[in-house]
């Protein structure tokens, strides 16, 4: 099941915060594909993505006891860690400034090794998302650009960029909202 792990069982969370390795292994097994896909999406390189995965899950393990479920869901918190680790890793590799050509083929460049069957239908829906929205999500979320940087990079006014970003998320909400189980 690809459905997101927004609300985790409190007893499971307790085990995780207690640094229970079995619980952490269950967490890893249920989230590794998503996180690896995210790492791969940002880094675009398998070796780098594997390092990001390693560093991210070690960070998650070390900081799990500090996780505040009042602030966000566990999965949101984990994706933030993976995303930030990946972006830092990219910046360290001086890969921050990607070429516009790369952006156009961005999705195509990253091979989806083992897409989940349930996700295929949604994936098709997302493909219907206007390229400009996909682009803004890629730049803002996957590449970690600030709005200002993205505005300059895409050569569009800041206000336009912000509107696109909000619309992109609204579109996503519409897509996934309709398909929520």
């Amino acid at each position: 099941m690809y459905f997101l792990l927004i609300h985790i069982d409190s007893s499971e969370l307790f085990l995780l915060k207690s640094k229970d390795k079995k619980a952490f292994e269950r967490l890893y097994d249920s989230t590794c594909s998503m996180m690896y896909g995210l790492a791969l999406k940002i880094s675009k390189r398998k070796i780098l993505a594997e390092d990001i995965m390693h560093d991210s899950y070690v960070k998650i393990w070390k900081n799990i006891s500090n996780f505040d479920e009042e602030r966000s869901s566990l999965l949101t918190w984990m994706t933030q860690i993976v995303r930030n680790t990946a972006i830092d890793s990219l910046r360290n590799s001086n890969n921050k400034h990607i070429q516009s050509d790369d952006m156009i083929v961005y999705f195509k460049d990253v091979p989806v090794e083992n897409p989940k069957i349930d996700a295929i239908g949604l994936s098709e829906l997302v493909k219907n998302l206007k390229p400009e929205y996909q682009e803004v999500i890629n730049i803002l979320y996957y590449q970690g650009f600030t709005h200002q940087e993205a505005s300059e990079y895409l050569d569009i006014p800041l206000g336009t960029l912000k509107t696109r970003a909000r619309t992109a998320l609204s579109e996503l909400k519409l897509i996934f909202g309709k398909n929520e189980h």
Binding site: I6, S33, M34, K41, E50, W61, L75, P115, I137
Partner: protein
């Protein structure tokens, strides 16, 4: 606070894309806690993004998992080691300091005990010596008192005749001896105060003269008697005079007249 306006301001999208300042981030988190509508909207956005991300899910190799869990195990091991080392260090500190304190305390206690013992022993010795001395002095005084009392008793006893034996030679002209004789009980005592000590080979010998015949009254050594005691001599039934001669140790049967020191008539 218009919640709808806040949601529509775009701040939540900025938050989801991590494009907010720290202050804005805290504001959004605070608002989402206060207003359930904001929280729900935020969760919807986050979940949409997560679902979007999830579409790209790709299974990682088993090696990554092995590597991650190996690092976690190592981290745990290091933490445990650090904890144990910390405890060890604490123990080392405890072990390294404890004996120092113990030795210091022990030494201090030993010195104190030794000092106290030494002081006590020293004081005890002093006190014991003082007591022994006092006992000795007391004994001496008691003995002296007894002798004085005896001497005084005899001197003050009216039954005793006090006879002064005067020196005979020029050399002994200053010498004199007081003799005390009680004719009733026949006892005789000599106050030897003015008699000089004799060589070890010599002794004084007292004679009682009765009708010109000397009778031996015994020999004595003044050195053996203190000044506050009287020297007891043999009893004398009768006497006209008493005389003392210097004789060989042990005495003689007949007095050596040339060695007569003092004599006194009754």
């Amino acid at each position: 606070m218009n919640i709808k306006e806040y949601i529509e301001s775009g701040i939540l999208e900025d938050y989801v894309f991590h494009n907010v300042s720290d202050q804005q981030r805290r504001e959004v988190e605070c608002m989402s806690k206060i207003y359930p509508e904001i929280r729900m909207e935020l969760e919807r956005m986050q979940s949409s993004l997560i679902k979007f991300i999830e579409l790209e899910s790709t299974s990682p190799s088993q090696e990554i998992k092995a590597r991650i869990f190996s690092s976690i195990q190592e981290d745990d091991y290091n933490k445990e080691s650090a904890r144990l080392n910390g405890e060890g260090a604490k123990n080392v500190i405890k072990l390294s300091n404890w004996p120092k304190y113990a030795v210091a305390a022990g030494l201090a206690l030993t010195f104190l005990t030794a000092f106290l013992y030494y002081s006590t022993v020293k004081q005890n010795n002093v006190l014991e010596n003082q007591i022994a001395q006092l006992n000795s002095e007391q004994k001496l005084l008691l003995d002296r008192d007894k002798k004085y009392s005896h001497k005084l008793g005899i001197l003050s006893d009216p039954d005793y005749k006090k006879i002064k034996l005067n020196g005979l030679s020029d050399k002994d002209s200053l010498a004199y001896v007081t003799l005390l004789w009680n004719p009733n009980n026949k006892s005789v005592f000599i106050d030897h105060t003015n008699l000089k000590n004799l060589p070890n080979t010599k002794q004084y010998q007292l004679w009682a003269l009765v009708s010109g015949t000397p009778y031996d009254m015994g020999v004595f050594d003044p050195i053996s008697y203190s000044s506050f005691e009287l020297i007891p001599m043999k009893n004398a039934d009768a006497a006209d005079a008493f005389a003392i001669t210097i004789e060989s140790r042990g005495g003689v049967e007949s007095p050596t007249l040339s060695e007569m020191v003092v004599m006194g008539k009754i």
